[in-house]
């Protein structure tokens, strides 16, 4: 039976209030699906304010005390102005933050701007992975997505682990990401939107199982879709374990913790 680490799990919105009852429900959901660790993002940090949303996560004692929960932070260029960004990141790591997420289109910033470069350097140094929503990379509205920007991040920051996700179905149209996986060793793909027939099995056949990480995109999608998709696959057990648990576990274990 596979165990899972879910790297793409949202809370808040109108769904989560951080009280004991909700934490109990969350715990049941994870147990039911054999999810051992979940990296949670607060939706408020996406839809309202990155800093307020991020801080709200840490303020929940129940979440902080859960051994199953890590946090992901949403960052924007102005995060660099937080007193001392390096100090800020160190305190984030101490508070169980294990992932940074970026939403340039929603938060209207240029993914490769001057401050983002500095942020990437520091994240690289502490080995904190970033997760990028493919649909978010172009802020002009003129491009389907901004491939050059993604390539620039990957090539300029070779020590930065970049996990690609997609809130819409563009990852299904996988003509573009096969060459990216081949070209950039620091690129990983989160699987919750790989909906095409046999898409997961096919990319594992082509590239091996080391470059894919497990995510559910809950509650935008029900947890059972990603869990069931792995369990119902004919991939060998090593590939399943890599995708469900090992790959993201290895990424999280590389993070520099004092």
């Amino acid at each position: 039976m596979n165990k899972f680490i879910d790297v793409n799990f949202w809370i808040k919105g109108n769904r989560f209030h951080g009280d004991k009852k909700e934490i109990g429900k969350l715990d049941n959901l994870l147990i039911k699906n054999n999810i051992r660790t979940v990296v949670v993002t607060n939706k408020l940090a996406l839809t309202y304010d990155w800093n307020i949303g991020n801080n709200e996560l840490l303020a929940s004692r129940e979440l902080s005390e859960s051994s199953k929960i890590y946090f992901s932070f949403i960052l924007v260029p102005d995060a660099y102005f937080v007193a001392d960004f390096e100090k800020y990141i160190k305190s984030c790591i101490a508070s169980k933050v294990r992932l940074a997420r970026l939403f340039p289109k929603s938060h209207l910033f240029y993914i490769n701007d001057y401050y983002m470069q500095k942020i990437f350097k520091i994240l690289s140094y502490y080995k904190i992975p970033i997760m990028l929503d493919l649909k978010q990379l172009d802020i002009t509205g003129n491009k389907y997505f901004a491939m050059d920007e993604l390539k620039s991040i990957l090539s300029k920051n070779k020590d930065l682990t970049v996990i690609l996700e997609c809130s819409l179905k563009q990852l299904m149209f996988n003509r573009f990401f096969y060459p990216l996986i081949e070209e950039y060793e620091n690129l990983y793909v989160e699987i919750s939107n790989l909906l095409l027939i046999n898409q997961i099995e096919d990319i594992v056949e082509k590239f091996g199982s080391k470059r894919f990480v497990f995510g559910t995109n809950y509650p935008n999608l029900e947890i059972e879709f990603s869990v069931g998709r792995i369990l119902m696959s004919d991939m060998n057990s090593t590939a399943k374990e890599d995708i469900a648990f090992n790959n993201i576990n290895n990424i999280l274990r590389r993070i520099e913790i004092d």
């Binding site: 054999n34 996988n174 003509r175 909906l195 027939i197 046999n198 898409q199 069931g228």
Partner: protein, 269 residues
Amino acid sequence: MTEVADYIDDIKKFKVIDVHMHLGVTSNVYYYNYNDEKVINLQKKFNVKKSLCSHCVGFSSLDNQMDEIYKLVDKFGDFICWYLIYDPHYPQKSLDIIDKNKDKINFAGIKIHPVFHETRLDDKAYYPLWEYVIQNDIVVLSHTWSPYTESPKQFLSNPLLVENVLTKFEELKFIVGHGGGKIPFYSEVIELLKRHNNLYVEFAGDTLYPKIFRRVIDEVGSKRVLFGTDMPMIDIRYHLISVFKADLTNEERGNIFYNNAVQLFKFDK
């Protein structure tokens, strides 16, 4: 033990008819090592007994459609029942092809795609089709999708347009493909189902929302909900999980997966 693991074995206990799938490719998608067998084998693995299929090439070329279908009729036999495509730009040619071939293949019905053919679902160019299918008691599956900014052309297949069609052609047996697309339109589609008894719905595609099954069944019963996947665009496993994740009885699941399609398409049980 994961909950989903509990019902993986149960999934295979149900006979399935997939009323919305395709063979062939689409130009903007890269299918690694695509072949038709891969699609059909995956369906068979999950106890699909019949696949109701339109060939993707038919949206671009009615003639190529028939060439491909005749090759595949030999290969897959009764497992596949074919939708033939009606192209509103070539109404007479479409109907001639349908009329000439429907008794020679395992014919399921007609597929229309208002977005691909850039013709509104309620356009008069479809009238010859509506008249033909009513006369011949044939089922129509239409692509429908909610209009949204990422894909503005979807307004051509807005499920609300179905009302205009069914008001004029009440006897039409019509399947609202993809359930109308996005979740905000589902309530409207349920209202349509309440008003039109010959209307059916399936939820193929990339909107995976298990709760919709309970909602539809509570409002209109379980007899007009069909199981569709949109294979190979969407892996069948997601849609099987969706029906199992929904809060349904096994009888309701059986109706969705199989019984309703048997009834509508007059298949032998």
